[in-house]
Subunit: 231 residues, 2 copies
Amino acid sequence: MAVRITWQDVYDKIHKRILDSSYAPGDKLPRDEDIAQELGCARSTVQRAMRELSEEGIVERRRKGGTHVRSYPVTRATFDISVTRHEVESAGKVYSYQLINREIAKSPRNVMAAFGLTAPKDMLRIEALHLSDRQPYIYEDRWVCTDTVPEIANVDLQCESANEWLVLNRPYDHADLRFYAQNADAYHADLLDAQLGVALFVMERTTWIGTAPITTVKAVTSPGYQLITRT
Amino acid sequence: MAVRITWQDVYDKIHKRILDSSYAPGDKLPRDEDIAQELGCARSTVQRAMRELSEEGIVERRRKGGTHVRSYPVTRATFDISVTRHEVESAGKVYSYQLINREIAKSPRNVMAAFGLTAPKDMLRIEALHLSDRQPYIYEDRWVCTDTVPEIANVDLQCESANEWLVLNRPYDHADLRFYAQNADAYHADLLDAQLGVALFVMERTTWIGTAPITTVKAVTSPGYQLITRT
DNA sequence: CTCTTGAATAAGAGCGTACTTAATATTAAT
DNA sequence: ATTAATATTAAGTACGCTCTTATTCAAGAG
């Protein structure tokens, strides 16, 4: 019996037609059913392939409207941010960690903004340094909402980083991420063993569970850090 | 008749159990079939939900191994990089564009590295400035592989940016993206109307079709630029 | 000549069944 | 005891059918 057509086969065929411009940006593709008939498979198989193409931002699908090649293609990239320790270790380096500071303090304006608060609040602030092969790697300045995560008060953050504890113990609903560049001030330069004024890559992440804020962290990377994504 | 259970219902139920730690990181979930029975739907409905959870990096699935909550959860974020003009316009600003330079030149070392070439090659280099409300927004330094894209020689890049022309006319297979920070040198400072030495956020993107390189572009953003992603 | 209403359309989703595949566990053979 | 063959398991995929839903288009009402 002839080998069955898989949804990947359908994906490849349609993708190829888009790549060789048989279907150009903006063009309308045949209905799923017609493609199914042409390729000799079920409609659901075509749908599976089409969903993939759609999720990758290659085509756009609308009910009744049909399927179109995106008129302005996008590069859709996905990246994972996990525990810093893993990032270091999977690069084959030795990870270590230093707790710099831990205090209860009123949230400053930038933290309020990240959480969308209107009034300052007492929160737990944790400053820590992640090292890769004994070299400074990432300095993290974290604020944890103790209303939402009271248990963190009892955690020994000398041995377990807040990063790791939160990831394991506080699942979140949604997150806000932002990336930008910042000049090293005296404080960062000292901690990261970098020159004053050097450009540093910064990642900010704020997480919530429902509407309750969990934590916001500003991760300042050491000079030369690159965030890399392959598609 | 009772409303049918949708795959989103299943998704929500399982997701909620993960969020409230009924299933903690590392835990094994029941088989799809058992979940289907419990919730009163077909296995395929559970599978649809599970695939979503899996694609979002919340659970991991292995044949025979079953489904587990990721032992180290990740923040999986997706972002689209499209035509700079759209980015500006969808922020409600006026877009404009200036061609700074266009030349045929031997590819320098960093471009060779991006493409994985061992010997320099003649390529088309295009320098251009994207403006938002008449203010410098992104400076792009682009190298186009004329072996792969000979037609670009005949394009009038004064009116149409290479960015846009390539996106519309040269579909690509896969791309390499990297983000980092860089201090403004005299050249960038001048073009972007920025202070010398200020930290600039840089995005590099290299695209291929099959194994044939298409283009590599270094987009240097003006001070204060942030890449934002919501999950 | 708009605006509303209703039919038509194409994608989205659900179900049940059957078969495939990768990974693990068990058993047999060395 | 170690390895190789085999069975078992749970996810992955395919199919055909039915029904739902968002959109569009066209006809009819104001």
